[in-house]
Symmetry: C2
Subunit: 219 residues, 2 copies
DNA sequence: AACTTTTTTTAGATTTGCCTAAACCTTAAT
DNA sequence: ATTAAGGTTTAGGCAAATCTAAAAAAAGTT
């Protein structure tokens, strides 16, 4: 089976929304895809017909087994291309999403196989998100945001949940990147800000908003 | 201005047909694009409206200045991607056209700029065809097919005009690739076959059909 | 339970790119 | 000058993906 760019974008976005909120609504999907709810309903019917989706009108919907598999394959392609763009072409990670949004739809299986090998089988994309393998499997690392992480511990930055230029600017300012090791000193209850210490540098305090968007894991 | 995949494919194919036969016909374009003449007429009107084409009904058409510029940019993208696929991903050159046919439509300007630099500013694609620069300029090398080339001369293979697996198989059999240096011994008038000598190997005779599809230049 | 609000779906259009079949030009041949 | 043959265009339709506006269902509120 071969799917249109539109179908692929719907499938992938349903998948992503399902990861964060178990109930995906027509409205939220329309919002994510920058389209109108009526268009979403049209596509839901189509995806149901193609047997990628369980859908009962007015009652909600979710990807079935095949839908999920296809979604994971698109995610795989997207993240491999993002890795390529950063690692090989030298893009900053705040610029790659949009381009990968197009590249992910190039359909050759052999292309992705060779790209994966060329990139040396990366496990995560430039934002720290895992790259599913050909079967859709990926390692789930136990991570928490700095806002939730226990104090007095040394942790490693594993991913960022905000991929905007503004976020990148902040991280560069604090000399934080994916893989950076840092110590969490103290959470201030007043405003949720957190004191951290990055490598040999002086300790610094980051805002709650920033802390919530940086994910870390132990060791 | 931003053009759809369909528009880009039409523009590029008009360009290519114009290179080989100065009069492009509705039928030849339809044939090239594997579509129907009526569809071509529809698109011609559209491209005329968008000011990329001079078109008088029943009288023929051709790309104007802007149309040409856009075509050359698509050709640039196509050939850079082909180079990438062969040079970096290790594809054989008979497998890359189809994939580049999709990749060429990814629209980021920065992407192509960085890809070009990553590939070290290649001048020709894996089939020996020149890669236009950002302004659409490229060096035209004076080349002739082996069938037309003068005998008793040592020449260098510059490009192939047939990019099929069968052609690649033949070239591999004779140990010929782009850049291979060979001596043209003799043209047989009976069947147009040509005796050539590739590097230190024994001289061999190739068919007229093959000779016509291998282009060479001097020194 | 009845009303209000929100969410979702349907109905009906629109745009793009394609198609078939019929009509229309152009050119070549009688 | 007709006629025949090709090539090209028009007319009318269809499918995909979108939209707006109206209807229908679900959820929330008194
Ligand atoms: Mn996409
Ligand atoms: Mn990513
Ligand atoms: Mn193409
Ligand atoms: Mn080529």
């Amino acid at each position: 089976m071969n799917y249109s760019v539109s179908e692929e974008n719907y499938i992938k976005n349903i998948y992503h929304l399902q990861q964060q909120t178990e109930t995906v609504t027509t409205n939220s999907l329309a919002n994510e895809l920058r389209t109108k709810p009526a268009s979403v309903t049209d596509m839901l019917k189509k995806l149901q017909t193609k047997n990628l989706l369980e859908y009962k009108r007015y009652r909600g919907f979710k990807l079935n087994e095949s839908g999920n598999k296809i979604a994971l394959n698109i995610v795989r392609r997207h993240r491999l291309w993002e890795f390529f763009l950063v690692d090989k072409l030298g893009f900053e990670w705040d610029k790659v999403h949009e381009i990968a949004e197009e590249l992910e739809h190039v359909s050759s299986v052999e292309l992705i196989k060779r790209l994966d090998s060329f990139l040396n089988f990366p496990q995560t994309d430039p934002h720290g998100d895992p790259i599913p393998d050909t079967n859709g499997k990926f390692a789930v690392i136990k991570q928490v945001s700095i806002a939730e992480a226990a104090a007095k511990k040394t942790v490693v930055v594993s991913s960022v949940s905000d991929q905007s230029p503004g976020m990148l600017e902040m991280l560069n300012h604090y000399h934080i990147g994916i893989g950076t090791s840092l110590k969490i000193n103290k959470h201030f209850t007043f405003d949720g800000s957190v004191e951290i210490k990055v490598s040999q540098k002086a300790a610094c305090v980051i805002s709650e908003q920033l802390a919530k968007n940086i994910f870390v894991h132990h060791e």
